[in-house]
């Protein structure tokens, strides 16, 4: 595609702050060189500013405000309980934050020791520098397989799981329904899902089984976690980070605003776990680069 045309199609994304990282840098670099595109950007910005500075479009009347206040107060008993619960959750959230902070500090201090021990004790080669997100994903996978992290929803329907997350996380969890739509042999089963705490927020945790072996998929917004460290493998325009953590194979990557971690104890780099989303024959091209050479 023509570079200018490509840039012009993404003016809105750029001005909405939806372009990140390398994509944003390339966009800005082009604008420095192309006066025509820069002029179009200014024009678009002018238009958006006109719309945005018209905010607020509507203001609630004082009567409505009074009605709502009265309405809330008339439900005092219900509300008092709700408020108490709200505050309790706030406090537990604060504790969780401190807990995570302490855990993070301990992790930083102990990580070299853990890695050395794992390198000495484990047959699987360990890759250092795993991101906190990859470590968290490995941890929740282990806790779930030990029965210490029960699922909050048990369902085999991807739509049901996606719907369950709808009002619980600030991003959209869209699980593919590959094996049903492809008509292929059922290679894995979807078990269910739950929320897991990560960096003052919730991440989405989805559990699968493939031939009695558990696979975990953990999803969060890329603003919350960025994949890093480990062995870097490029495939289909994405950068995958592979880590071996306590004998588990953890693959992390970011795509379209979300960061994913896939955890399993499958062979090699655990690349076969990718079939929970990529089961088609053509997807073998996608999985192949993740195999060790």
């Amino acid at each position: 595609m023509n570079k200018c045309q490509d840039i012009r199609e993404r003016l809105g994304l750029y001005l909405d702050n939806e372009l990140q990282g390398e994509e944003r840098q390339q966009f800005e670099s082009h604008l420095r060189e192309c006066e025509v595109c820069k002029a179009l950007l200014d024009h678009e910005l002018d238009f958006l500013n006109t719309v945005r500075t018209s905010s607020p479009l509507y203001v609630a009347s004082p009567e409505l405000r009074e009605k709502i206040q009265h309405q809330l107060l008339s439900k005092q008993e219900e509300l008092v309980e709700a408020q108490h619960e709200f505050q309790r959750r706030k406090r537990s959230q604060a504790k969780l934050t401190w807990g995570l902070l302490v855990a993070a500090v301990l992790l930083v201090l102990l990580l070299p020791v853990v890695i050395i021990r794992l390198r000495n004790n484990s047959k699987a080669p360990e890759t250092g520098g795993a991101s906190t997100f990859a470590l968290m994903a490995a941890d929740v996978h282990m806790r779930h397989t030990r029965g210490q992290l029960p699922l909050e929803i048990t369902a085999s329907s991807p739509q049901q799981i996606s719907g369950w997350f709808a009002n619980k996380v600030n991003f959209s969890v869209q699980l593919p329904n590959y094996q049903e739509s492809s008509g292929q042999e059922k290679l894995y089963t979807l078990e269910g899902a739950r929320l897991v705490g990560f960096k003052d927020d919730y991440a989405a945790y989805v559990a699968y089984q493939m031939k009695q072996r558990p696979i975990s998929l953990v999803i969060t917004a890329d603003a919350t976690a960025q994949p890093s460290g480990g062995e870097e493998i490029k495939a289909r325009g994405l950068m995958f980070h592979y880590n071996a953590i306590q004998g588990l194979k953890v693959i992390t990557w970011s795509d379209r605003g979300l960061t994913y971690a896939l955890v399993s104890d499958l062979e090699e780099r655990g690349q076969q776990s990718c079939i929970v989303c990529h089961q088609g024959t053509k997807d073998q091209d996608f999985i192949a680069p993740l195999k060790p050479h």
Partner: protein, 185 residues
């Protein structure tokens, strides 16, 4: 949660901070002040009832918007003869359908000088799904992902729908500008 910076805020104090935004969204959905006020009240009742189940990490504003949208969709389903979302084809007023007073200000020549009322009228004239997405992004400042959560659709849909909505809005404002210029001459 967005209230984390103000941990002592009670639920009703925190929720009331979003009253204007919620009323604006209700107006966008219903286009009728009385219906919008009813919808806002129903949203707060539902919110207060469900507040104890609200996870601490939840963004309260986004959560209230989702409640409002669900309440509105329920109302639309209940009242078959009442308010409803209209298909694009059913609701695409041309420049001639605009309120007459939109043409009465010859001083406004350039787009950047359009007053709030004119922009509001232009947004109000958009089809329902377009004015909703423009309000969420450009007036309320939701990210694409947050809009996807409120609307229950993929972020890619948000992106394409927002592009079409802005194009339509740009045309409306341009048409309006042209008519204003003609009047001014």
């Amino acid at each position: 949660m967005e209230e984390t910076g103000r941990p002592n805020l009670t639920f009703n104090e925190a929720a009331l901070e979003h009253l204007d935004a919620l009323f604006g969204y209700a107006m966008t959905l219903t286009r009728d002040p009385a219906t919008a006020e009813d919808l806002v009240q129903e949203t707060y009742v539902r919110g207060a009832r469900a507040a104890s189940k609200l996870a601490a990490a939840t963004n309260l504003r986004n959560w209230m918007f989702v409640i409002m949208r669900n309440a509105w969709l329920n109302q639309v389903r209940r009242e078959k003869t009442g308010p409803r979302f209209v298909d694009f084809a059913d609701e695409d007023p041309t420049i001639d359908d605009w309120p007459a007073d939109a043409d009465n200000n010859p001083q406004v020549v350039y787009l950047r000088k359009l007053e709030r009322d004119e922009v509001r009228r232009a947004i109000e004239s958009l089809p329902a799904t377009y004015r909703e997405i423009v309000l969420l992004r450009d007036i309320e400042g939701f990210s694409y992902q947050e809009i996807a959560t409120v609307l229950g659709c993929p972020a890619g849909t948000v992106m394409s729908r927002l592009g079409r909505a802005r194009e339509k809005l740009r045309q409306r404002l341009k048409n309006w500008q042209t008519k204003s210029k003609a009047k001014a001459v």
